[in-house]
Amino acid sequence: MTDDRSVRDGGTLTVALNSDPDKLDPTLAQTLVGRTVFASMCEKLYDIDEDGTVVPQLAASLPVTSADGRTVTIQVRPGAEFSDGTKLDADAVVTSLLRHRDLPGSARGTELAPVSKAEATGPLTVRLTLDHSYVPLTGVLADRAGMVMSPTALEKYGKDFTNHPSCVGPFRFVERVGGDRIVLRKDPNYYDADRVHLDGVIYKPIPDGNVRLANLRSGDLQVGDQMAPVDVRSALTEPKLQLFNSPSLGYQGIGLNVGNVKGLGQKPGKIDTPIARDVRVREAFELAIDRDLLNTVVFQGMYEPACGPISPQSAIAPGVKPEDCPRRDVGRAKKLLKEAGVQTPVKIELKTSTTPEQGRVGQVLQAMVKEAGFELSLRPTEYATMLAETDAGDYDVFTSGWSGRLDPDGNVSNFLKTAGAMNAYGLGDPEIDKLIAEGRSVADPARRTGIYDELTRRVQDAHALIYLYRQKNYVVAGKDVAGIRVYGDGLVRVKNAGYTR
């Protein structure tokens, strides 16, 4: 969603984030809020536009891939400078890509693993050699793995780059006070500085929705990122505030433990519970759920019901539309439980995080599945503990979500592949593995769509990860601020923002 009213030059924008970002180092960073800060100071080789289409950013054009898919050539934007005044060139891109791939602790290592070689073949030309055809690469380079860091700053600060980040971007890093603020100032070296209106941006972590809203109302904050539906409803009663939103590329659902006995990355084993043993019990569980009602009751109808890993917003492989999701059918659910021969009520424990919204999701599910013959008990568990327990396989069902990636592969492979890095469900299906591999190597968008449609059906049939809804990115801003952009990747872009005249 965009806002194109004309703005005046000058002023500082204060943006509230719902948590404190982690390291301001594109190689090591792992949080969504961190990506929002990077959007202002670390541009990427590629970006997405309003329609979710990949467009060049620090690259001069879209990448050129060889016929066998194993060589990718990238032209680098001429005339761009890092915030430290050094030049952006092919060498800098190569240095960054190799650091992303090789630095111990890199969160980008897996995404860039297929890149076997990166070299500068000209001052502004980069050639990547891949182990195998890897279609998601462009999508990956439109995220943090495509951020280019100043080689001079990397050499000067080494591990401490996180405290002195220097990239190409509309704003440059000034200071960070942990837990309080990250201050950025307009970068005069930026190639598109003429279109940057603000003098600076301040990012403030404010986890509590009430507090964020109070600050938006008082004018201490101009932008609130990732607002919850209940706060958005409340904000809309305020004439001084306006709303931006975009659908997200991620999903929220519940994960069922069907074979995670030894922890992540291990081969699935056998679990002796009714939901793990018999797919009919899981199907009955899913049939007992009404996604529309869940969305209405918990989220005031402001999110989208969902039943597959890929968002219909995805430009590459459109997923299942909300209206095509399976409908609630308690009669059939009961019948399936009877066929499975399980003793009712089937007792299941659901681990949820401790947020009020997730608590309500749990309560609504509890009431729905009860009618079909399930006794769902809720165990609110603090986030870090829940991750540790669910990764280890110590659970029946848990609330599982993902903020989403541009390329469909980023929303399926780690979660659904046998022994995948985030397959906490213990799902192991050779057919799914085959479809994931095909989806990564086939370049033709139409064929990819077919592959992901089949994959979605297969995943739906396994009922190991029941997709329930997709969040929308809601951003509340003061009406005197214009030029903010909110796209499907969930980031708030303030490059062209400013105060109205």
Partner: protein
């Protein structure tokens, strides 16, 4: 007095050492892997392993403790696993905020609490006492979070006299600093003011009926002198004890207030550190808070002797 102080200092250091062990063990007993908490939704096994390695989380707990204490003694409190910033810097930034908040709240509690307590005692059985008691009861009963939000709605949004959030150092802009600190100080100090009022009232009632006050009155001293110079001065011993105990609570109670007003103090630092299992920050924050508690107790004992000469500390014998 010196001997007493030295003994108390030695005891304090031993306490601090024991606290460091309890804190260290307690934090590690929390469920949830710090590497996982850090990685959040994106957790590749390689990245997790590298995080554990770089923060020494694979080592034996005893080795980790030894390293922590060794570094702490040289003033190195480690690096935050979440932000990569030095913990000492984070503490240096957070400490003035919390201390200022605690000091302002304390000031408010002393002025309002002692004032109302004296009035309630002196005007016993009159409307002033009822009013003071009612205010104290309200101050004790209102949840901090609710009071904070109501004050923000009233005095930062409806009538924008104060700011709803944020911190500006006093040295940078004193007016803006106070504009941001008054509401948090009221929220944090209201409970303490109520406690102080009740203590002052009770102690004053005792004092006012004591023989020495009767003697002072009989000697023809002015009303102000009797109340201020005799009754209040003796009542303050109890009040100082309560204040001392409560000052520790002020620092730890700042957690909620700092969340409401987005103040980058100790409370906020602690909460963030707990949720991200940021061991280095959490250890340092809890240790510093413990040290503050111990120091405050020590100071309270010293202040006793200044207010009431009847209390002779160790060296008198």
């Amino acid at each position: 007095m010196t001997k007493y102080l030295l003994t108390r200092l030695r005891q304090s250091l031993i306490t601090l050492f024991l606290v460091s062990i309890v804190v260290f063990a307690g934090i590690r007993a929390l469920p949830g892997d710090p590497a996982l908490a850090l990685a959040g939704e994106e957790r590749s096994p390689e990245a997790l392993a590298a995080v554990r390695e770089s923060y020494g989380l694979n080592d034996n707990v005893v080795i980790q403790y030894g390293r922590f204490i060794g570094h702490a003694l040289t003033g190195d409190l480690g690096t935050s696993s979440r932000t990569g910033l030095p913990v000492a810097d984070a503490i240096a930034q957070a400490l003035p905020v919390t201390l200022e908040l605690a000091a302002l709240s304390l000031l408010l509690a002393i002025v309002v609490g002692i004032g109302a307590g004296v009035v309630a005692a002196v005007r016993r059985g009159r409307p002033e006492e009822w009013l003071a008691n009612a205010i104290a009861l309200i101050g004790l009963s209102i949840p901090t979070f609710w009071l904070g939000i109501v004050l923000v709605l009233g005095f930062a949004i409806a009538v924008p006299v104060f700011a709803a959030s944020g911190y500006v150092p006093f040295g940078t802009d004193p007016i803006d600093n106070l504009r941001r600190m008054v509401l948090p100080a009221i929220v944090l100090g209201s409970g303490l003011a109520a406690v102080v009022m009740r203590q002052t009232r009770a102690a004053m009632l005792d004092s006012l009926s004591a023989d020495y006050v009767r003697t002072a009155r009989a000697k023809g001293l002015s009303r102000g002198s009797v109340i201020g110079g005799h009754a209040l001065r003796n009542s303050l011993v109890t009040v100082v004890t309560v204040l001392g105990l409560q000052l520790g609570h002020l620092i730890s109670g700042a957690v909620v207030t700092e969340q409401i007003f987005v103040l980058p103090g100790f409370g906020k630092l602690t909460i963030d550190a707990v949720f991200t299992r940021d061991y280095a920050t959490l250890q340092a924050v809890v240790l510093c808070t413990s040290a503050a508690y111990i120091l405050i107790n020590l100071l309270v004992d010293v202040v006793y002797s200044v207010i009431d000469p009847r209390i002779r500390l160790g060296g008198a014998r």
